[in-house]
Point group: C5
């Protein structure tokens, strides 16, 4: 669980860690220098009968507001839906563990329950590795008996293979007469939910927001920022660069956050902490069968990805 | 239940209690004095060929509108989803109590039903304590038999441990032949819902809105407010501080509300009244088994947290 | 069912009934007179070197747009969710009546089915009375056998008590061998839905939109309207009051609608017609068991609460 | 299924059919003539010291944007929810037909299955007639055996009566030992969905968007359009009427669409094609039991209601 | 699965592939030349006492923002809902395959399980062909036994016919005593979901956003862009065409994207990759029964439709 510091309005103005500023500082410096140039050569510019004024920016601003507003909402929705899917993963694996313990016709600490819970944990890690396209083998070997780990490792869709294994576990319970068809469908209902979670994550990973949106927004933002000094220089004079940089900070900053948030399973600063969440699921499931959770190095840094 | 006073448009203009004004008054005073300084030294400012005018503020305003609009909606959604989860907690514990009473094969006032209902109440309080990171022991000891209270107390995820205990209660009913597998899955369905509620609250608690959003908004608001006097002073003269403070009241006020609402399980003025809601659940569940609810000191203050 | 008149664009400009105008007319008159005063004394005002112009209003306008847009959406969502909950109440009581008729193992017109349907109707009225904090006794006595009506009347959460009674009805059907556990859970599923409906209504009733939002919006609206004449007088002269009143009509009108809509279970003009809906549920359920519905005085007035 | 022509950006500028222009042309002509008058008498107007300028329109524009944005979204949501409900009707009747064919313990082409499917089709038409307040008798007599058609015809809530009949069909299947309680509840689950669909449509039909919203928006739109020539005449001179008509086209056009969309079960040009959808449900259900669908005159006109 | 290149802010400014620019370049050139003409003849224009200025554009801009914002959101919702439906198709076919393997009372590699999985794959392709109105016969013949392929091919609603076939498969399993009614309803639950998916896709295909919306937006966008040079020429002189083209790029570009996104089952550049998704479903289902997936030519081009 994350400990949040009380928002302090004064400190929030000057904090550096977690700020998007460090990502866009070079770009802002370039923009600042460019604005200075514009101010310096403004007389020459008007000599060429090129007269700039702020009016057109209002009209581009409308387009910009629609683009930024839309893409920001769509990206955040992806981020939050991804988070909800991982939340549902936590809830459903807990529910399945509870079902195995209280409805499987087995003592709480039996070997079968333990292996069922390990299947759930392996499922979680397998999903994480699939989404990050990392190597699942070490986690599979740690959590599963050897032949199964090897078999699963050869599959392209490893979480689906493990879901089938969970189904076999329940089938065996039925074949051994420990549960009946009713209880089997109660498990099966939660397997459906797990299947929806896997597919939901694959959907978010595999279908980004249509690319032309990103291009259209990105280009409009930069065209806007680099034209703005021309629009402000007449009225604002030497203070122009200050305002241009302020506007640039807001728009470029938002553009950067959106790009990070949009694909929530990556490894950028504001992506989902899949490592932490997997470990949390592991520890709560193990606690349910009275087993200690492995200790991991605590990730102190709240806003950086695990 | 909360008694609401009819909205009186005149009184709402001058009411002090519940207003955000008292939180931001010092900041507004500072902003007011700063604006006065700007008005006083405006001649000196223009002497330095620094000419301010309102035009750039329109452009920053677009960014501000997007930020404030987004963060406000996202925060309120978190607040309202948290409220819905606690509403679902009320509904589902009531449903489970009804199931225990009418489907458990037991007389309405039997000891088993009473202990089941107490488990549900303990579950509610355990969740509250987990979300507020307060000590659950007194409530657990009050509601549960001693050994169970001690066992639950040692768990990190106490509500999940109690959910398992609820599952054991149903298993025992089945083993004693009072219910069959069908009825067991009817209970189990609601246990799944409780598991979703716990995980949903943990999700809201553990995953704030990405921090850069807050920083970006916060800084843009304050930069905007403190630059505004320069933008207005030419046209508005001595009336400038009035408008600056009015704009500051609106923007800083919204910024403060958003910060409170965003993490709805805290103890700030507009956070959720988890204490009141827990007691309400306790009293309605006890009424269902014809037991009196313990009397708590009535919380007269509607808009302050319990 | 409501008969709606075709929208006629011309008549809609002048219709009085149902308009919000009559609620805010006095306030608009005061605003008009105030604007006239400002126009009359504009020379004196500028003598004091207080120069107003429209620029600052653009900036306050941004805040206002965010506040109004948000609070309007949030209030309408509450209104529409409340309506959906009462729609779900209609659907679910119909489904339960259908289940009692076709799955209860009883003839269609048996006494037990009739008493089950009366329990559903009593549940509906009990919920209405709880939400409006009115006296449920007459309706309970009309619909339930005397001892039960008295018992329910003593409970704080009457709909929940009736839900338990519905559960007892099903338990008896099972104990008498008319239904099995499967059919019992089919009923129970719909009881869960009813429990969600009760809790959903209690949530909307008990948790208003955080009060500071209302205050912040309300005050910004009135500050904006009363400062506006100063901003317009220079450019618009004697036509100023017309525009101020038009802006005031739009903003104050929206503020009033929002306040009514926000708490949809009240008795203000645009709140939900709970009486009509309760009677509609009563008549459709009675029709299902071939009983005539009691006749109520028809409520001719569409837009006034029942 | 509807064949859509590829959007051609040039032709879309000049197409007449399906355009809202023909509905508002007279109003735009009046607005145009009024604007011409304003331009003609502009000197006289300023003689009366009534000076108009565009500034106040910016402020009313904020209100207008909120109103139009909100009402447009709310109306489209109603339209789209109504469409989803009719989509769910298609899905659920198909599911029920599949259940009757594969789970009813009957041969695929048995008389009972045929009569079940006809009940589903009659249900669809009965709902359509209820929503449009047209006469259901011809369709009922076409689809149902005579006594049943007569009985249903006397009910106020005909779809609900047919839902009960569907329940009786399933009860009979159970009484004849063809299905057990499990399969009965599988049917019953889909009956619940049908009940939700009926109630959902009744909700949209019976509860319009609160009337004051429509009035407030409608009046603000017309006040805005008819005051606009005064605001533009100073700067734009003889080109004023062109702009006023363009703004009027956009705002009045949106106002008209919103009014049509808002009540999606009507007979206005953009309302839902309930006839087409009913026939589509009829033909797909009949295809499932290998019966030919009756041929209807094809409705060529895509954008006009059936 | 799609490999996404890291967003590079610099390269994104100049990338050509995937940009909407190539679609609207001719229109932008025409707009540019038109603007040049306006600048060239500006003196003649003012001689006719036709004075343009930027003010009216602000008012049309409000309407434009509402239209673009609404239509963009509505179109993207359609796109994303369509994607979710195809995601649910993946999840549910996987769940059904898992049920057939672990609950069907058959060995994992039995002929019946294989034919069930082929039915699911045929269902997927049949839906794809229905949505794109292409010929399903080759895929049906490839996946189904000959007589069935021929029978399905004669149906108008092929996926529904296959759903019935899936139902027969389960009925046979029950008639052969391999499963009981409980397990049958577990399959049936997922058949209901498939039925909802088919109907959901048909709804999006068959009911576009009301056409007048598209016309109103489209015309306002083009009227706006072609009037804009008149509004800017006075203040901006020879720089006017640059700004007009920038505004035109933003608005026309968004208009084009919206038109593509709105009907997500088509073959335009940003429509859904139904081919890829069908093949992905085929390969994951075959992997579940340990069969190799057919190899298809890899589609390298991320943003072009398959």
């Amino acid at each position: 669980m994350i400990i949040r510091e009380k928002h302090n309005w004064l400190r929030m103005l000057f904090v550096w860690r977690g700020s998007i500023l460090k990502d866009i500082l070079p770009r802002l410096v370039v923009l600042f220098l460019f604005s200075l140039l514009v101010v310096f050569f403004r007389e020459e510019l008007s000599a060429y009968r090129v007269s700039f004024n702020p009016v057109p920016f209002t009209f581009i601003g409308i387009a910009l507001a629609i683009f930024l507003g839309f893409r920001n909402n769509a990206s955040y929705d992806r981020f939050w839906e991804a988070r909800k899917l991982w939340g549902a993963l936590l809830n459903t694996t807990r529910s399945l563990a509870r079902q195995a313990i209280t409805m499987g016709g087995l003592p709480e600490n039996s070997k079968q329950v333990t292996s069922f819970v390990h299947l759930l944990i392996a499922f979680t890690y397998a999903l994480k590795h699939q989404l990050r396209q990392t190597n699942a083998t070490p986690d599979l070997e740690r959590l599963l008996p050897n032949p199964l780990a090897a078999a699963v490792g050869q599959h392209q869709y490893k979480p689906i293979r493990l879901l089938k294994e969970l189904g076999f576990w329940v089938r065996q319970a039925k074949e051994e007469g420990r549960i009946d068809a009713i209880t089997q469908t109660a498990f099966d209902h939660n397997f459906n939910v797990l299947s929806d979670i896997v597919g939901g994550c694959e959907r978010i990973l595999g279908t980004p927001i249509p690319y032309p949106y990103s291009l259209l927004l990105h280009r409009t933002v930069y065209a806007y920022c680099y034209l703005l000094p021309f629009g402000l220089v007449q009225n604002s004079g030497w203070i122009t660069p200050l305002f241009v940089v302020l506007v640039g900070y807001a728009f470029m900053g938002l553009d950067v956050i959106i790009n990070e948030i949009e694909e929530p399973f990556g490894l950028e600063p504001n992506d989902l902490a899949l490592n932490n969440m997997s470990r949390m699921i592991e520890s709560t499931l193990l606690e349910m069968i009275n087993m200690p959770a492995p200790t991991y190095p605590k990730n102190e840094n709240l806003y950086l990805v695990d």
